[in-house]
Symmetry: C2
Subunit: 538 residues, 2 copies
């Protein structure tokens, strides 16, 4: 025990480096002689957690990406009631390792190409660890100044990283950025804000005449917001020949038709990088169509693809110049974890949850969400010197999320962030190119969108197959791929066509993983085609 403590005492020094070692530190080390001391137990459990996290990441690629547990496995493994007496943290941590971990799907696995991967970086973990400790429900400035101010600063850093217009910077004290939990949250806030502005502009319009616009390819966040708010949502159809992006004339027709019927569209969610296929709505044309309807709020959902804005060469293709000119609000997920009924996305290197949300005019937000009576609103609050973030979102209390963003942006730097995004995109291109090289068996269903490819077994693989049977073949294909433990993919459906999605966004994914994954896709396609034609010949 004594030797052990001395050794630890020596090894501590390098971590404190040249900085002054506090008296409390010596105090707690001295007390570590007494094994029951809680400080010692926590340090032990803390070091162990750090070790296990490292071990986890370094052994990850040797684990199966998917969990093979059966529904209910954990309920069977755990007691029906909490323990009466406290248990040791060692036992709990061991049970986490032995019982909980086998039930995890490894979203950070290098062969995870499903949904949209969630980011989890060491830097983000450390940032979040500090945030969990210094718990400050940052509902207003005074309840913890640093929480509010750091969020204010890093959101301006993020705006610069992504090339957003200065109009969205917090320093303008007109526009501004705030961290929401998820893209669903950001969209809900945008729609509530839009409704509030519309009702102020048109106080006589009954609430049941309002309508929300999305497209048939918009993430489910649109429909969900409609359910929550009790508002009808109209999904404007998009076409395969437009690569599943909304065009201006499509929008114009719908607005005219609805207005003629006495309906009041007040918000449209435009997507840059849809969940299914990475489609980009034609924001230039949408902006043109909205020119005659300045009371319709334009919210840009760039939850996944927005991370690519960090590289200037991709901005024009994503309509960023127009977004900068006309969008009322925009959402880019730093964590990116997105899922639809079939499919989902991660980029941005920050651990879940962290959805960056900007508005062009913060007054619209606070008018919609501030419950402070007007006579109590401070001039500082409105002018942005002291922002009360509770009035910028749905909840009062908030986590100190800006800390993990700060850790990540500083440790990667702008160039490191860009390099990571470019790597993912180039790996995605390798996969797409591999699909293109096997036209006898596979095809891309829609042009690849950055790191995302949507593909299927090509019609040519089984000549003469009717469309619905080709769909059946591709459903079988996905089932077979899904049975493989070496990789994880998701399926999707584009205007009735069944297909498989492949997206790169995990920090640890390298060329070797992508090539191995394509190998499995190709091999499985051969087997499934043979199986399918075999069964049909009976």
């Amino acid at each position: 025990m004594v030797i052990h403590t001395l050794i630890r005492l020596i090894t501590f020094f390098p971590y404190h480096g040249h900085r002054t070692v506090s008296r409390t530190f010596f105090f707690s080390v001295a007390l570590a002689f007494f094994d029951g001391f809680p400080d010692f137990r926590f340090r032990k459990a803390g070091y162990q957690a750090i070790d296990r996290i490292c071990d986890y990441y370094y052994s990850l690629q040797n684990k199966p990406v998917k969990s093979n547990v059966k529904p209910g496995y954990l309920r069977e493994a755990l007691p029906v009631a909490p323990p009466t007496k406290g248990e040791s943290i060692e036992d709990i941590a061991n049970d986490y390792q032995d019982i909980i971990m086998p039930g995890l799907t490894h979203w950070q696995h290098p062969s995870f190409f499903a949904y949209y991967p969630t980011a989890s970086t060491f830097e983000g973990i450390i940032g979040d660890l500090y945030a969990t400790t210094a718990l400050n429900p940052g509902f207003n400035w005074i309840c913890s100044p640093a929480c509010t101010e750091l969020e204010n600063v890093v959101m301006d850093w993020a705006a610069q990283l992504f090339g957003l217009s200065e109009d969205f910077y917090n320093t303008t004290q007109v526009g501004g950025g705030v961290i929401q939990s998820t893209a669903s949250d950001s969209a809900l806030v945008a729609i509530v804000t839009a409704r509030s502005r519309y009702q102020r502009l048109h106080p006589d319009v009954p609430i049941d005449k309002l309508v929300v616009y999305v497209t048939t390819q918009t993430h489910s966040l649109g429909l969900k917001a409609g359910l929550i708010l009790g508002l009808p949502v109209y999904a404007i159809p998009v076409r395969a020949e437009d690569d599943y992006g909304l065009r201006g004339h499509g929008l114009r027709e719908v607005i005219e038709r609805d207005k003629a019927e006495g309906k009041h569209p007040f918000v449209i969610v435009g997507t840059v990088g849809t969940t299914s296929s990475g489609a980009i709505d034609n924001i230039d044309e949408i902006a043109e169509a909205l020119r005659d309807h300045p009371d319709i709020w334009l919210h840009i959902d760039a939850a996944w693809l927005g991370a690519a804005f960090s590289c200037p060469q991709y901005r024009a293709r994503c309509h960023l110049p127009t977004i900068n000119k006309v969008a009322d609000s925009i959402c880019i997920n730093f964590h990116k974890a997105r899922a639809g009924p079939f499919s989902s996305t991660s980029w941005g290197l920050v651990n879940f949850d962290c959805s960056a949300f900007w508005v062009r005019d913060r007054k619209n937000l606070t008018e919609a969400l501030d419950i402070t009576p007007p006579f109590l609103r401070s001039t500082e609050g409105d002018a942005g010197i002291v922002v009360d973030y509770r009035n910028w979102g749905l909840t009062l209390g908030r986590r100190f999320r800006s800390l993990k963003v700060w850790f990540v942006l500083r440790s990667f730097g702008v160039e490191g962030f860009q390099a990571y995004i470019r790597k993912c995109i180039s790996l995605g291109e390798i996969f797409a190119e591999s699909v293109r090289n096997h036209p006898e068996l596979l095809e891309l269903v829609t042009p690849p969108s950055f790191s995302l490819s949507v593909f299927r077994i090509a019609p040519g693989a089984v000549p003469g197959l009717p469309a619905h049977e080709l769909n059946e073949l591709n459903e079988l294909y996905y089932r077979r791929l899904n049975e493989r433990n070496e990789l994880m993919l998701t399926q999707t459906e584009l205007n009735g066509v069944h297909c498989v999605r492949f997206v790169v966004g995990v920090q640890r994914t390298e060329r070797i993983h992508v090539e191995a994954a394509f190998g499995i896709c190709l091999e499985t396609a051969k087997l499934v085609t043979r199986e399918f034609t075999g069964s049909r010949s009976y």
Copy 2:
């Protein structure tokens, strides 16, 4: 370097204990010889974070509880743009210590008696650290089985801890529990669910005839939900003589009046432990009044006081037997961090955010929030074997919050949890008793509610003072208390009476801190009274 690594190698063993040390572990330790290796840098930064967290907690009581920074201090201290090149994690961590920390209000300080303290336990920190690492946006079962199942299990544990009726257990596959982010979130979900049920029962009622009921003492979450949903909220007045709790006849009158005017109340938020004064609405009488109106949803907001349900002796006083019989939904915050315009609350020992939410009938939740088309809803999903938690809340992706609850419930055990709650309540009683012992200067404005006392300078301190001047005196009193760095309190207003709140809920608060705090309150009251009467004699 070699020696350092060897030492570390030796010290690692005890943490791995009798468990098999993985090959990757040896691998990474061997690689630690190369200083630039990221694994080593992360371990170093991780150990340092654990050390600093320990140091932080052990030196906390020597720091001032409040931050003294000026608005804008952090923006001045930080660069205007993110760095181009990445920086070392050591530098970032040091900047956190040197620049960010001075801007934090220490909510875990033993002399923090303001708002409602946020819990932050070592066990919760470790649980959250693992959760941050194994990022799984648990939107459905398959995307990470353990996330869904652990939440399912710990919510049943929590229901037992708090003495909730078995109707609310997940095992019933009818009722069930889910973790939301905050009490605002829980209330919003309850109100959306209530509206959806009401509209299914009365499909012809126009949406603009719906009304939400709260009381004038309900937390701002009621008004906020109204803003978000675009629904009118009526705050039923409560009276000082009812200790600011809602009575049955008050509710009955309002329902009859509103129904006569063609309005449709569809939900009432009943509070057990209000933010201002810990008032408890008379749920027994409310249940009686609602008997003729079974289509009005009863949501119980026990965000703060619910933690006291863990001790059986407090349950009857909190109307738990009636809640168990009639409430449609109930919210108890494990983290407890609550704030109103003047005041706020923490109990429950779990780090922010973690709001426990139960419903009596989960079908109402999924009918309201499930965007899966009916023909795609799985029988497993509805029967509760495989719960898709995305349909139980506002957002799709979710943090793995159940892990920290599991760590805390296991390490404290039911008895440890109860002992903590009883300690807070007895410390609160010590404060209340001290106020009672100085009737010449101080008074309790309303009976103390568990660990919360609301007090002020008594009318007798300056005989003959009119009510508005007594309010001025008490405003000055709070300002003076607020200038003290040794403790943190919040003020409130109860039906026009200015008063000060004192709430105990920090794990590290002991009798000595409460006595010291009362000493300051008493001394300041004397000084302020003298100052006030002195200025009036001019």
